[in-house]
Structures are given as structure tokens and as C-alpha cells.
């Protein structure tokens, strides 16, 4: 019971703070919420009985990498970057990618039923797999880069 409470608390904390990392406008707030997400992940490691990884996560991620991030945020010009545009106009592409990725991962984890005709099922499966993989590869790399090149958006903050 306590195990489940700990897991769901840390899972909710991780997901909510990850959403806040992606959606906040201010970079410093994103960094703070990223620290929260990393510490929640460390709690999930502790709940999984991986104590060494818990310590490594706290020391290396929350203590090392995040200090690096905050230093870089401090070094580059913060006042300029707040007043600039923070989001692409590609939220629909992001949503589509997320849906495709989620559906793929859920479908890949599901055991597939084998009917009467085993070979036909295998063939169908193989063809479906090929279609799925090629479409995902096309969707994830090609379209994204083509759109970015076409709009030639500046990637700097």
C-alpha cells in the first residue's frame, strides 16, 4: 500500500513537472521544474530498489547537470530571450508525433493474437510492421527537418 502511494505520488510529480518544463515561457522556471522532475525520477528509482542509481541521479543530475544548465542560463542573455518568440507554430506536428509515438509504443507492447492461418497472419504482421516503421521514420525525421528548413526558423533563444 505504501509502495503504491509512493509510486503514484512520484509519477504524478514527474509528469506534471515535465509538462511544466515544456510549457513555461521563462527558462529559469523550466530549469527549476526540470530539477523537480529529476528528483521525482530519483524517488521512483528508490521505490524500484535501485539505491545506487538514486544516489547517482541526485548527485549527477540534480547536482551536476542542472548547475551547468543554470550557469549557461545565467551566462547568456536572459532579458533578450524572454521577449522573443518561445514556441514554434508546429504544435500540431508535435501533437501528431506524440499521438503516433504513443500509439506505436502501446501497440508494440500488446501481444498479438494468432488466428487459424498462421502464415497469413505472420505475413500481414510483417507487412504492417514495415508500413508502420517506414511511416514513423518518415514522420519523425524527414517532415520535421523539411518543415524546419522551409521556415528557416532561428534556433537561438
Amino acid at each position: 500500500m505504501l509502495d503504491q502511494i509512493v509510486f503514484y505520488f512520484f509519477a504524478a510529480l514527474a509528469v506534471i513537472s515535465a509538462l511544466l518544463v515544456v510549457t513555461r515561457r521563462n527558462v529559469v522556471q523550466s530549469a527549476i521544474f526540470l530539477i523537480t522532475a529529476l528528483l521525482a525520477t530519483a524517488g521512483i528509482f528508490l521505490q524500484l530498489h535501485a539505491e545506487f542509481l538514486f544516489i547517482v541521479q541526485v548527485i549527477l543530475y540534480a547536482g551536476g547537470i542542472m548547475v551547468l544548465f543554470v550557469f549557461v542560463i545565467m551566462l547568456i542573455n536572459l532579458d533578450v530571450s524572454i521577449h522573443q518568440v518561445q514556441f514554434n507554430r508546429q504544435w500540431w506536428l508535435g501533437l501528431l508525433l506524440a499521438l503516433v509515438l504513443g500509439a506505436q509504443l502501446i501497440l508494440a507492447g500488446r501481444p498479438r493474437p494468432l488466428g487459424n492461418c498462421r502464415w497469413a497472419n505472420l505475413l500481414l504482421q510483417r507487412r504492417w510492421n514495415r508500413v508502420r516503421n517506414s511511416w514513423a521514420a518518415c514522420c519523425s525525421t524527414n517532415t520535421c527537418f523539411r518543415l524546419r528548413l522551409r521556415r528557416s526558423c532561428c534556433l537561438w533563444p
Binding site: V15, I44, A50, Y61, V72, C144, P157
Partner: protein
Amino acid sequence: MIPTSHYLFLSLGLFTIGVIGVVTRRNVIIILMSIELMLNAVNINLVAFSRLVGSAEGHVFAIFVITDAAAEAAVGLGIIIAFFPEP
């Protein structure tokens, strides 16, 4: 005892949020942060499967992934500082 699928769904959610961040944000630092989120999701997956199988190999891979994330953050932030236009 929490089933492994719950860990997998948590990891799926974190990874998808990271992908959305990489695609939709324009700030390079937040793109790097989203990559860190995705690497964390992979770590949760590895440790959950390691507990399911009952061996410590997943932990070793997770340590490799953490090392990789540290190196990637150092190099990426160095590149950002080197190429940031001076005001």
C-alpha cells in the same frame, strides 16, 4: 507490488512530453532539457525491466545512459555558449 506496465506507461508519458518539447520549442536550452527528460524516461524503463528480470544489467545500462547525458549536456551547453551571438 506495482506491475511493470505502470512503469512503462509513466516512461511513455515522460518520453512523449520530451518529444513534444523538442519539436515545439525554439529555445535551444529547453530543447536540451527535453532531451534530458527523454533520457530519464529511458532510465525508468531500464530499471523497471531490470527489476522484472531480476538482474542488475539494467542498472549498468542506466549508469551508461546517465554518463552519456552528462557528456551530452556539457558539450551541448559549450556549443551554445560558443555560438551565442554577443549583444
